[in-house]
Each structure stands twice: as structure tokens, then as C-alpha cells.
Assembly symmetry: C2
DNA sequence: CATGACAAACCGACCGGTTGGTATTATTCT
DNA sequence: AGAATAATACCAACCGGTCGGTTTGTCATG
């Protein structure tokens, strides 16, 4: 194995171990030692790849942002009507949520640290703005194609994102309380039905 | 000043200092020493009133829960119609939000620690359930009085709470990004208008 | 004078980060 | 080609400092 490959492998194993531990136990409680132990890597290797513990955190956050963009890019090429597309999104929510598992927990960690670390705050705000923009474009498209009748697409986009974030939040905080997958599906279809009506 | 009064005073000053520091810097980063310094209290006094640092946290959380119940209690006695009541709630959101200031930040701390500490998790879940119940009752009342036409009040309550939580989350994460006070007001009135329609 | 309310010194554990050194791979020179 | 050199990847011991919590002692109050 070449040096470059080996290096990338340890780097990504550090990242993976850190993500898991951050999501499971929280950023502050997770020690660099424990990350190294979980990644089967020495402390020297850790500080060879990252300047600090915080740097791993923001690297993870930016990885999230990139994944986000990739998802948006694939959705933007869709040719279905907006309500159909939202329905498809909603039906895939369940699978995504179940698949990712505890991975979502790290979102709370990002948000909590967003108040303290300006770099994290900036990335978090950027994430929110991208989502708002995505939903605004989506609703705008729905209005253009005549499938939606929202008076204020900007406001509606904020509401839409709020519902998504609120469901996500409740789902992570109270995973056993309800069947959040099907609930999200029904909630989104209800929202769509409301926005398809002529009284908004 | 009697001993009892003096004791309660230091206790509440510890609580206040802890709340401020937890909200400002986060639970883990806040040291017991710094709390004591901010509260002008010795470490001995701290551990005289609380068995541990974590105990202060859950005490704070339960204080929030109680305040919540008090707010619900005052709202339940209202005689206005549901849309009117929601409008009143919405218009007061701005003031409450501005008044509380950074105090909301501790909510993120509660939620983040909810995954780690079972006691915190239970209180958080209880909080969610109380809110869901409150909104369900509210919407149910609206349907009975004929001002709302929601097919599934339970689902609608979840959506309603999601919007509130989502707006709150966005507002705390990106306080300067938008005028969240008026935005929340418009969002809630939009939701009410949708639910007043006959196509839900 | 007994007790509750505090004060201050103290403790072991642990944490993020550093350092000096080694092993392996890549590059250059003859 | 092969020796010499440079560079990278990695390791394990270690350090100053901080943390949550304890202990011992003081002192006003009831």
C-alpha cells in the first residue's frame, strides 16, 4: 500500500471514530485519547492529521455540508411535479432516518456548539440558508407549474423548513415516542395539501 | 436576615449563575469553579446545596418544566376563539423572545445532553409530550367551536409544534439572519389560515 | 452549645497538546 | 541499479493545567 493511501485510511478512520463518539457521547466529553483508541491510532497520528480536536469537529461539519449539496444537486434534476417530488422525499425519509441511525445525533452537537464556536456558527447558518433556498426554489417551481398556490413563497419556505427541522428534532429527542417515519410522511402530505389549496 | 432566607438566596444565585453560564458557554465547558465565582459563593456552599454539577442542570430543567406548566395554565383559561388566541400568542412571541435573550440557548444544551443523561432525556420527552398535548387540545377546541377544520387534530398538533420548534431553532441558531419575531407571527397566522380552510 | 451555612485548601484523575524518536516510503545522486 | 538522503507517517511517554468532588475548619444563629 502506498503512503498516500495509508494516510487517507487512518485519516478517515479518525474521522469515523470521532463522528461516532461525538454523536454518542457529545463533543466535550469525548477525549482525543478515546478517539485514538477507537480508531486504533496513536495520539501522534491524530495530531499529525489534525491540528486540534476542534478541527476534527469542523471537518465533520463540512463533510455534512458537502453531502447536503450533493443531495440537493440530485433532487434539482427531477422532472416530476412538486407535490409528487415532495411525496417522494417524504416516503424516503423513513428509510434515510432509520439508516443513518444515531448519526443524526451529531446535528444536535453541531447546533449546541454553534453558539460558542464562530466557525461552527457560520457553517450552521450556511446550512440553514441553503435549506431555505432549496425549499424556496421548490415552492417557486410549484407555483410556476400551477400545482401550488402559496402567496408568499419565502414565508412558506421558512414554514416548510421549520416543519422538517421540528420533526427531525422531535424524532431524535423522542425516537420511541412515535413512528416518526410515517408521521413525517403524513405531515408533509398534509402541508402539501394545504399549500395546494387556494386559501393561502 | 434569617438563616433560611440567606440559604435560599445563595441557592438561587447559584442556579442563576449556572443557567447563564450553561446557556452562554455550554454545560461541559462550564466548571463548578466558574459558577461559584460568578455567584460569589464558595465551592463548599455549592456542594452544600447540590450533590453534583449535574444536579444543578436537572434542577434548572425542572424549573423550566414548571414555568411551562404555569404558562399553559394561564392560557387554558382564555375565552377567545382559537385563531384569536393563537394570534395573541404569536404577537407576544416577539417580546418573549427578545426578553429572554440568550436564555433560550440553554434549550439546545438540554436537548444535546438528552442523548447522554437518561434523566434529562425523560424530562425532555415529557416536555415534548406536554406541548403536543397542549396543541392537540387547542386544535380540538378550535374544531369544536367551528373555527378550524382539521381532519386529524393529532397530526395537526405535531405539525404545529414542529413549526414552533423549527422557528425557535432557526431563531436561536441564526438570530441576525431574519426578523424572527415578525416572521413567527406571519408563519403562525399562515398556519391558522390554512387550518381554517376546508381542504385539510 | 449544637447545628446548619459556608469558606478554603486540597486531591487524584484526566485532558488537550507537545516532544523526541522510529519505521517506512519516496527521491536524488552516483 | 543501488546507495544515500529526505520526507512522511506514525508512536509512546510525558507535561502543565484543569476538573469535579472531598475534607477540614470557622462562625453565626437558633
Amino acid at each position: 500500500m502506498t503512503q498516500e493511501e495509508r494516510s487517507q485510511e487512518t485519516r478517515s478512520s479518525i474521522l469515523a471514530a470521532a463522528e461516532h463518539s461525538f454523536a454518542e457521547r457529545g463533543y466535550d466529553v469525548t477525549s482525543v485519547d478515546s478517539i485514538c483508541r477507537a480508531a486504533c491510532v496513536s495520539k501522534g497520528a491524530f495530531y499529525h492529521h489534525f491540528p486540534s480536536k476542534g478541527a476534527v469537529f469542523v471537518a465533520l461539519l463540512n463533510e455534512w455540508l458537502n453531502d447536503l449539496d450533493a443531495q440537493f444537486a440530485t433532487m434539482r434534476t427531477s422532472t416530476a411535479s412538486v407535490p409528487q417530488e415532495v411525496a417522494a422525499m417524504a416516503s424516503s425519509v423513513d428509510g434515510i432516518y432509520r439508516l443513518a441511525g444515531a448519526k443524526w445525533n451529531i446535528l444536535l452537537e453541531f447546533w449546541a456548539k454553534s453558539k460558542v464556536d464562530p466557525a461552527v456558527a457560520q457553517s450552521t447558518i450556511e446550512m440553514i440558508h441553503r435549506y431555505q433556498g432549496f425549499f424556496r426554489e421548490l415552492l417557486e417551481r410549484g407555483r410556476r407549474e400551477g400545482s401550488l398556490h402559496v402567496a408568499d413563497t419565502d414565508l412558506a419556505a421558512v414554514v416548510f423548513l421549520s416543519v422538517v427541522l421540528g420533526l427531525l428534532l422531535q424524532g431524535t429527542l423522542d425516537p420511541e415516542g412515535r413512528d416518526w417515519g410515517t408521521l413525517a410522511q403524513r405531515a408533509l402530505s398534509m402541508l402539501m395539501a394545504m399549500m395546494a389549496g387556494r386559501n393561502t
